[in-house]
Structure formats: structure tokens, C-alpha cells
Symmetry: C2
Subunit: 479 residues, 2 copies
């Protein structure tokens, strides 16, 4: 079922200079990839015409290719570069900024068949995987060895290549950083089909420009990531969550710097507000503890033993109480723990069930979270659009969800871009950035100039031209 949405979020015209995908080109692709790796049927391509971005129409490619190895990818790119055909690299398509959506048509280059875990090096704490390996598969491979890859974005079906391209973040970033901090090297194919491997099994390196870091977060516009070297860490045996209700979000946020001055770092430090609790209760049909309070911190901690974690939590509780916390609870049963964690993790899927909803991913300095949310809600009130906020108190990453309730969809779609723009403006004024972990893709590209000036944008465009002079790789994205 194709969504038809009567606004074009891009207002983008197709570049007249791109080459057409003729039957000759399809025949070329079949010669390169093999018959069972080339798809032109509209029904088969539907899943590749979108990612998980809300409110976006389908953009069909002309062809989807699913190569099994890197030399094939090199040939596909060389062909596309020669004929100037857009190529959109794609992992699992779980992004929510439209990064892997083929907005200019062309070739969708799916990495799904590059799914081998090539090496788990336990001495150096490094895994080497192909780009199409999902986070869940990597977890299943390394956890039995007592190791883990610490990145934990919402969606574990995301691929390693995809998370590299969006510099995915998630809930463990307080302690472990984002994708950028956990990747040691890459193998990439350039638009002309040439290939290189950057980095290696080491953390320290200063041997020329760090191409690994440049490609991380470049959303498939510079090169196609085919292989990923990532850090592994020891999987600690115990994990607990502390749940702390407050009467006011500002009090909760004020406790955060002190919590982060304790000797150990929590793996996650999340905040939610009451309106989320309400939705989760509606969704699960179960009562969430302390649901009468306005704001909550959830502190996730891991350790060797329950005692060690409880000892840490007692320090956290003491700080929270000094900042006006009304209680502090460690769920006693696994069921209660799961309910709490899910009220945070599964919230986005819950809220989507009730009404159309937009997803805004923004980052502000940690200390500004509460003031920023207050300002954003004040703006939203002017549009009569309710906005739900939650996010990562430990790192300043806030997710805002404007909902379509008590308003026609048409009116909501008209107001939404204006509201979104004002929210980004205020976020940038607070010293923030317009995307913390989802990326810019095409869904947020018109807002990027709110954060980056022309000097910076032109520098990025010059880098893009240096890598991809024919602009074939994921065109129409970021800037």
C-alpha cells in the first residue's frame, strides 16, 4: 500500500544530467551481479522505496541490486559512475531521516547479502564484519564469548554498515560513546569502483587524514562501506535499572552532572516525561509505577555483581533526592524491569499507533535539556500541536514527537514544517545540533543551514566533490 502525501518534503527537481537506466544498463547489471541479484519488479522493489522515516512518500528506484561480494560492488559502481546513474547504498532500511531512500531513483545497492562475520579477535577485542551484518547477529556471535559491541540504538536489526553511515547513537552512549567511538577501520568502495581499507586493530593512529572518521556519518554520500572493524568490550554479567520520579524535569536534569561525577559511569541515563508514561500504560494495559509524577530519570548500570550496582545506585539515589527526587526504585522482578525498560525503548513504536507523528532528533548541551524542552513545548502550544519529549539525559540528545491530534491531517502537515523549523532554531540557539543520532538524510536537509553556515556547508560540498565528482553516490542527501 503506497502512501500518498500531498506535500513534497524536498521540493527537489531531478538533476537533468543523470544517465537513464536503459535495458542495456539492466543487462550490464545482470552480467555483473547475476540474474538473481537484480530486481526491477515494482512489487519486489517496494520495500526499497522507503525507510522508517515518518510522513514520507515512496520513492522507487529503477533497479535494486543485491551483490554478494565486494568485487561485484566495485563493478556496479564503476558502471554507474561511467553512465552517471545515482546509487543509493542501503543496509536494513531502519533509518528515520530518509538516508537510504532513492529520492532521485537510480540503483538501490542493497548490502543485505554481505552478511558474514569474518573474524572475532578475542585478544585484540576486535570484530571484523561485512557491512550487511546486523547488530543482533553480531551480538549473538560475540555474547557467548563474553564480549559485546556496546552500541545500542533502538533497532537491533540495523546493519553495521548502516550504523556507520548514520553514526548511530543510542542508549549506551554515556559510557561507550556513539558509533564513531567504536569503529576502528573500514573497507570502502569509492564511486569510481576503487577500494581501500582504512584503520586497523588499534585505537591510536595518526598516519594521514582519518578517512574512517570522515566516512562515519557521511550517510553513504562519499563511499560504499563494505567491511567494518569494530571494538568489542567485555560483557559485564549484571545489568540493572534505577527509576527515579521527580516533580519537575528541571530538577531531574540538574541532578545529571553530579551523577556523572561519580567514580563509575552508567551505561545509560535517560529521561522521560509523564505523557510518555500515559501512552505506555494505554499501550500495555499495565500501570507504570509512580505514574502521578511529572518527570523520570532511568539510570542503567552494569557490573560484576548486583551488590556493586546497588552500591552505585545508592550514590545516585542520594544525589537525586538532594535534587528533589520523590522516590527511587529498582524493579524487583525481571517482568517489572522489562516493563520499565520497554516504556523507554518501545515508546516510539507505541506512539505511532495512536496518531500520525513526526520524529525530531536534536542534541543540546546536557545542562540545557529542560530549558530547551520547555521552550519547544511553548512554541508547539502556539501551533496547537502536542509534542512529546524524551531522550538521553546523559548526552543531551532529545527526541521530540509532534503528534497529529485534535487537528485535520492537512492542517497538521501545513503547520508541521513551520513548527519543526522553530524547534530546530531554538535548539541551535541553545548551542545544539539538528541531529544527534538519526542523520540528516533528505528529511532534515532543509534544516541543516540553521546549524551550519555557508563556509561549513561549502567545505562539506568540496569534500563530496573530491570523493564523488559525478555526484552518483546517494545524491540529494545532507546538503
Amino acid at each position: 500500500m503506497e502512501k500518498v502525501i500531498d506535500f513534497d518534503p524536498m521540493n527537489m527537481e531531478k538533476d537533468a544530467n543523470y544517465g537513464e537506466i536503459t535495458q542495456d544498463r539492466i543487462a550490464d547489471l545482470i552480467r555483473i551481479v547475476g540474474e538473481n541479484g537484480v530486481f526491477t519488479d515494482r512489487l519486489e522493489m517496494q520495500g526499497y522505496a522507503h525507510d522508517e522515516t515518518p510522513l514520507v512518500p515512496l520513492y522507487y528506484p529503477q533497479v535494486v541490486v543485491k551483490p554478494r561480494d565486494v568485487p561485484t560492488i566495485q563493478k556496479i559502481l564503476a558502471l554507474a559512475d561511467q553512465h552517471r546513474i545515482p546509487v543509493v547504498p542501503r543496509g536494513a532500511g531502519t533509518g528515520i531521516a530518509g538516508g537510504s531512500t532513492p529520492v532521485l531513483g537510480g540503483i538501490v545497492l542493497s548490502l543485505e547479502r554481505l552478511d558474514r562475520i569474518l573474524e572475532v579477535d578475542e585478544d585484540n577485542f576486535v570484530a571484523v564484519v561485512e557491512a550487511g551484518v546486523s547488530l543482533a547477529r553480531l551480538r549473538d556471535e560475540v555474547e557467548p564469548r563474553g564480549l559485546c559491541y556496546p552500541l545500542h540504538p533502538g533497532e537491533m536489526s540495523a546493519t553495521m554498515g548502516g550504523t556507520v553511515n548514520t553514526n548511530a547513537g543510542g542508549m549506551n552512549a554515556v559510557k561507550y560513546g556513539v558509533t564513531r567511538h567504536n569503529i576502528l577501520g573500514l573497507e570502502v568502495v569509492l564511486p569510481d569502483g576503487s577500494i581501500f581499507s582504512s584503520g586497523g586493530k588499534y585505537v591510536k593512529c595518526t598516519s594521514g587524514y582519518d578517512l574512517t572518521q570522515l566516512i562515519i556519518g557521511s550517510e553513504g554520500t562519499l563511499a560504499v562501506v563494505t567491511k567494518v572493524l569494530c571494538k568489542l568490550i567485555r560483557k559485564l554479567p549484571r545489568r540493572e535499572v534505577l527509576y527515579v520520579p521527580f516533580n519537575d524535569l528541571q530538577n531531574a536534569i540538574d541532578a545529571v552532572p553530579e551523577i556523572l561525577k561519580l567514580n563509575q559511569y552508567p551505561i545509560g541515563l535517560e529521561f522521560i516525561e509523564k505523557d510518555i508514561i500515559d501512552i505506555v500504560e494505554k499501550h500495555t494495559g499495565r500501570e507504570v509505577p509512580y505514574h502521578q509524577y511529572d518527570a523520570f530519570l532511568m539510570i542503567f548500570m552494569e557490573g560484576e555483581s548486583e551488590d556493586e550496582i546497588l552500591n552505585y545506585f545508592s550514590g545516585v539515589e542520594e544525589i537525586c533526592k538532594r535534587h528533589g527526587a520523590c522516590a527511587a526504585m529498582i524493579p524487583g522482578s525481571e517482568g517489572a524491569k522489562r516493563l520499565l525498560v520497554e516504556s523507554r525503548e518501545k515508546f516510539f513504536s507505541a506512539i505511532k499507533e495512536y496518531a500520525p507523528v513526526e520524529s525530531i532528533d536534536i542534541v543540546v548541551p546536557r545542562s540545557e535539556i529542560a530549558r530547551f524542552i520547555k521552550a519547544a513545548k511553548l512554541i508547539a502550544r502556539g501551533y496547537a500541536i502536542p509534542v512529546i519529549a524524551y531522550g538521553h539525559a546523559g548526552d543531551g540528545n532529545v527526541h521530540l514527537h509532534p503528534q497529529c491530534v485534535n487537528m485535520s491531517e492537512a492542517e497538521w502537515h501545513e503547520k508541521l514544517p513551520l513548527l519543526t523549523r522553530e524547534i530546530f532554531e531554538i535548539g541551535v540557539a541553545f548551542g545544539g545540533a539538528i541531529s544527534g543520532e538519526h542523520g540528516v538524510g533528505f528529511a532534515k536537509k532543509k534544516y541543516l543551514p540553521l546549524q551550519l553556515d555557508e563556509v561549513q556547508l561549502n567545505t562539506m560540498r568540496a569534500i563530496k566533490r573530491a570523493f564523488d565528482p559525478n555526484n552518483i553516490l546517494n545524491p540529494g542527501k545532507i546538503f
Copy 2:
């Protein structure tokens, strides 16, 4: 006193297209920077004709400028770009790869007068400093507030701008990573004099290419760093060192992965060999404990209390003993602790006193350290050149010092480049990189192709051209 060394490590010809620094240009610079900020006297420029790289002759600039603010830097660069004059940005000149040496003459742009600490934000754990602020000054500013910037390379007189440009590493990298992992944003001036600020007071960001990360480690070839936003962490009150002698370096190295699987990370995990102990004893006139053994691990740990650290050390000791450690000692007095730490930290200055010495900075996968050192020493034996090795067992960063003993300097200088090349070749064959933390500068640039292929080097050159089409910024470096 000018060193005259009868080989040219670069074999580099001056680019005929660079503009001359005429009296008119000097007059322009005086107009821009002010009379007391422009130096052309040879004696005054001598300190700017070199950094701390061993075995390199003096390369004089035509002029040294010392601006006090960023708009002045913008004007200097615009002038240089217009007339195509090389500009070499310079911090404290403590580098040891020749990164800030004006090998093609031109303008040395010293950042030493941009030395203000602009902000210490205790809520967001961020410091904002000008590029010329030294690590020592930042430490003195933040430590009284219970905070620290975790980077600890050998030389605390290095500037923040300099450490950003070399992506400096140091002894704390096991726990805290290198410069790259501790920088949140930069203000930079581009070669044409335009300016931008990247990043901000947040860890998570995926809003366009990460220019911060690209500029870190670019050795002043892409932009002049003028301001730095860096992470701060809480300064833990106690710090101790555990000293563990082994009969064999391989045993010591084999213990490392297990140590890193303990719940807590040490801040440093260093290895040294017996020959270093001998030199330190000669240098200090004091006996180092367990000096009869062949290899040593030094594990640096910080914590809330001595008990906490001792508890951690007992776990480390148990692992080391299982791997054949002969003993494990925590120095009882502050004096004994200092002697031990200095035998590691001050070793390079000690060794330089006895004979000419080269400094090779290489990184290999952690598990390969012992095998790599064995191979490197075997190669060195073929040249009859003794090589001393030590380094960071926790991150695979090895420092090798070929010494000139029992051989004429002329013979040594003839053999050294051949030996160095072989050592780099074997390091790369072990999966390593030719510089872990010192950079490439011009001293190591001829070896970079051992690690990076033409595709990678050409990609870097294309990025360089995108930033600096006239090639005025620190030309002749890296590639």
C-alpha cells in the same frame, strides 16, 4: 648552534610556484599583525626553525608572525593565499615528526599568543580554550575544580592546538582514548581566511560530515585551529602504579587482554624492557627494583580510594602471576613511585643524553607487540644498531629508539633509513600503522606509502586540494 646534518631526510625540491616574501609582504604583515608581532631576525627565528624531531637540520622561515586574535589570523591567511606563500601553523613546537618545521620556508604562524582559557563549563564537562593554551595550563585551571582533561602525552608544554593537529596520544589512552576521542568541537580558519566552528558541547552528533574529526590529526595541512572545545572528566583523587617484572616480554604481553577484561579499565598499561632500566639507573644513579628481570608491565590506576585501587591491583597481580610474573610491587613511598613513573616518562630525555638516537613511533595490534619487537630487534641486529623498545601495552603503540653506539655517525646515518624502512614494513605486515601518536610530518612521510596505497593517498590529496587549492598550508607534510 645550528646542526648540520649531511643527509636530507626529505629529498624535496622547493615548489617553484610559491610567491616570494618581499619587503612589501613583510610590510603587509606588519600592517596586519603589528610591529611587535612580526619577526624576521634570524636569531629570533631560530627557535621556529625546528621542533623536537631528532636528526633534522634547521629549516628557517622567512618570517615568524605571532597574532593575538583570530581576525588577524584570517587576514594573514588571506594574504598568504593571495600571494601563494607557505604558512606553517605552530603551537609549542614539541612535535617529533617535523610537523611544524617550515621545510619550504614561508611564514611560521605561531599560535603562542592565543592563550586564553575562554570557559570551563562544569555542568557540561567542557572547556573552551584558544589553540595556544598548553596542556599544563589547562590542567592548572581545571584541577582545582576537581576536573581534568584526560590526555597525557609526554610533554605537558604542548598546546591544545598542537595536540589536535597531531591527534596526540599518550599514557592514558587505554581508558580515555586519544585526542580525537576527547575533542568536541573546533574553530578553524581556512586557507582563504574564512572561518567556521564545528561541533559543540555534545558528544552525539550526526549533522553532516564530521569536520572536527577530519581536522584532528591533519597536522595543520587543512586549516589553522584557533579554538578547541574539549571534554573534561572528574579528577579521581587517588592514583597508584603496579610494577610487574617478567622473565620474558611475550609473557607480559599475553597477560594484557585478560587485564583488560577486568571490570575496570586502568588508565595506563605500559611495558618496558631491561635495557631501559639500565639507562634509567645510569641516568638517575639509583637502583630500580627487580632490575635483573627482562620485561616489565606498569599498570596505572586511579580511583576513589587506595583500597579500591589495591582491590583492582590484586586482580591484576593474579592474572600476571598466571602468566609467569616474577613479582608484583606497589611502590610504598611517593619517592619510589616517582622513580618508577619517571623511568617510563623521562626515558626519552634520558636516552638522548648518551648517544644520537632516532625515534620511531609505530602501532601494531596489541597482541602482536612482543612478536613485532622481536622481529624488529632481529632486523636491527643485522645492521648492528641497538634498538630500545617500550610503549603502551594497552593500545599497541610501540616506541623504538635505534641508537648510534659502536659505530660512526656517518655509518649510522647511512644505515638508519634502511633500518627504519624495514621496521615500518614489518610493523605494517603485523597489521599496524606507521605512526601511533607522533604524526607523519615530513620526517616520516616517505614511509607512509608502506601503509597506505595510492587510492588512499590520492583520496587524502583530493581532500587537501578541496581545503587548500593553492597548497599554502603546511606544504611538504604527510604525503
